[in-house]
């Protein structure tokens, strides 16, 4: 008897299209819900957490002296040998010691962003920043030189990260760039 009752109930459900209506309600709910798409690069950009390993940056002290002493430990530690360091003597006070880097370049095509250079650095000069936009139209931009890496990064070390920040999409002759505004952020929706 109970089985018959279940069967009849099943039939009534089928005739009234209950499953179909249930499915339609689910999709309608999604239709009116807010989209989770990041509007990258026009309006929003993901700012990663501090632990993120992006393009290298060479740091300075608070007084503006270069921290790098050209000890070449980073290039020795590098598993892909993508870092080239050539030291030179300098007593004008450019660095914290009188040995500074004449050349410090990294080949981003070979780099695997493992962070060993960061660990090997005795003066915490090499850090992996949170910059991850590496696309370009020729190979010239894949090698980053010391001068470029010494410039301050877009997202400072002190910034917490892990948020979506408001951004601006900039086109110029030199290429495209996405500028973030760290004061306007929102959490990632789940």
């Amino acid at each position: 008897m109970a089985e018959d009752k279940g069967r009849i109930l099943e039939l009534i459900k089928r005739v009234l299209f209950t499953d179909f209506v249930k499915g339609l309600t689910v999709t309608l709910g999604y239709n009116v819900s807010k989209s989770i798409t990041h509007k990258y690069p026009d309006e929003e950009k993901w700012v990663p957490y501090r632990r993120f390993r992006g393009v290298h940056t060479l740091n300075r002290t608070e007084t503006g002296k270069e921290l790098c002493v050209a000890c070449e430990l980073c290039s020795k530690a590098c598993p892909t040998q993508c870092i080239t360091v050539i030291p030179m003597e300098d007593d004008t006070g450019r660095g914290i010691a009188d040995r500074v880097a004449k050349v410090w370049k990294v080949d981003l095509v070979r780099c695997l962003y493992c962070g060993y250079c960061e660990d090997a650095c005795p003066t915490r000069a090499v850090r992996l920043s949170r910059e991850y936009e590496l696309a370009c139209t020729d190979l010239s931009c894949t090698v980053r030189q010391r001068e470029e890496l010494l410039k301050p990064v877009q997202v400072p070390e002190s910034f917490e990260g892990g948020v979506i920040a408001k951004s601006e999409f900039l086109r110029s002759k030199r290429g495209i760039k996405v500028k973030v505004d760290l004061s306007i952020t929102r959490k990632r929706p789940l």
Partner: protein, 344 residues
């Protein structure tokens, strides 16, 4: 020498036909945008967003792309049929609109001239529409046949089998409506549903809703939309009958498909939802065409909504539904409607 009123009448008909054709040619542009937007939002995405504000110019970009594309005719394809097939699919879709009414007479303010919102009031309008929309299938079959590709051929075959099994159920559903209205003319069918929502065919209990569901299921199969889009089943047949088509020929197939969707929405509104009649009395001067367009847009939305909700049926399931459920159900329903007409 015919008198001036005949000439004016003649010119008006040409102008109206031209206007309808222009609207129909333009209609797929907003509809493709809408479909992609709805797809996006149902999948919690945004849909087209970058070309113009909210992606509004995306259809124009697509159109330019289709126009510029290389027009490929496959080696060993039947050239003549291959070229004719998209036209055969498209022309009947347009021809259907010769019989579709959009409203009663309206008086143009200022000119004091009465304008009818339909091209012709055929006394067998619904029959003409069924016949014409059935012709559109030839384009699909021939397109599948001429392409010299197994996927296209299977798509065309499926299309014809599907048409045969579902056209019958749809025709029976239409017979039910004709029995209720005592006329084959679409204008009379709408007039018979005049008044408030209780007079609409969908609420002619208990047979009205059954007719409606038979009609909507059957016509979903006829216009090849999910869950019955087996002729272009991308999971198993690449793209079905239009696998080998590109450029403008492909666009013609898409055009025919979107117009067929509009036709079915319009028919559902006219046959079951009271056409341009207001659902209840509102003491405001709302033009009847507003109600008509609102109802049609709802049905268009419904078709897109269903498309991104349901999975596709298997081919044997499709045949089972057509022959074993819809056909017997519609026969029983014809009997029930007849008895109700006799005794109530």
């Amino acid at each position: 020498m015919p008198d001036t009123s005949t000439i004016i009448e003649f010119i008006l008909i040409i102008v109206k036909a031209g206007a309808i054709a222009m609207v129909l040619f333009g209609l797929p542009l907003p509809l493709t945008w809408l479909e992609r937007k709805i797809a996006g939002h149902i999948q919690v995405r945004l849909g087209p967003y970058r070309v113009g504000p909210h992606g509004l110019l995306q259809p124009f970009a697509d159109m330019i792309k289709l126009l510029m594309k290389e027009d490929i005719v496959p080696y060993k394809a039947d050239k003549l049929l291959f070229v004719i097939a998209p036209l055969l699919a498209m022309v009947p879709a347009f021809a259907v609109f010769a019989a579709i009414p959009f409203g009663e007479k309206v008086t143009i303010p200022g000119l004091d001239y009465e304008l009818t919102l339909y091209l012709s009031d055929m006394n067998v309008g619904i029959l003409y529409i069924l016949a014409m929309s059935g012709l559109g299938i030839y384009g699909i079959i021939l397109g599948g046949w001429a392409s010299n590709s197994k996927y296209s051929l299977l798509g065309g075959l499926r299309s014809s089998a599907q048409m045969i099994s579902y056209e019958i159920a749809v025709s029976f559903a239409v017979i039910g409506v004709v029995m209720l209205a005592n006329s084959l003319s679409l204008l009379d069918i709408v007039r018979a549903q005049g008044g408030n929502i209780l007079h609409w065919n969908i609420l002619y209990l208990p047979v009205g809703p059954v007719w409606f569901f038979i009609f909507i299921i059957g016509s979903t199969a006829e216009i090849n939309r999910i869950p019955f889009d087996l002729p272009e089943d991308e999971g198993t047949l690449a793209a079905g009958f239009h696998t080998e088509y590109s450029g403008m020929k492909f666009a013609f197939f898409m055009l025919a498909e979107y117009i067929a969707m509009v036709t079915v929405s319009v028919l559902a509104v006219i046959l079951f939802f009271g056409g341009w009649n207001a659902p209840f009395y509102i003491p405001l001067p709302i033009p009847p065409i507003f109600w008509f367009l609102a109802k049609v847009s709802f049905f268009i939305y419904l078709f897109m909504w269903i498309r991104f909700t349901l999975p596709r049926y298997r081919y044997d399931q499709l045949m089972n539904i057509g022959w074993k459920i819809l056909l017997p159900l519609s026969l029983v329903n014809v009997l029930a409607t007849g008895l109700m007409r006799l005794y109530f």
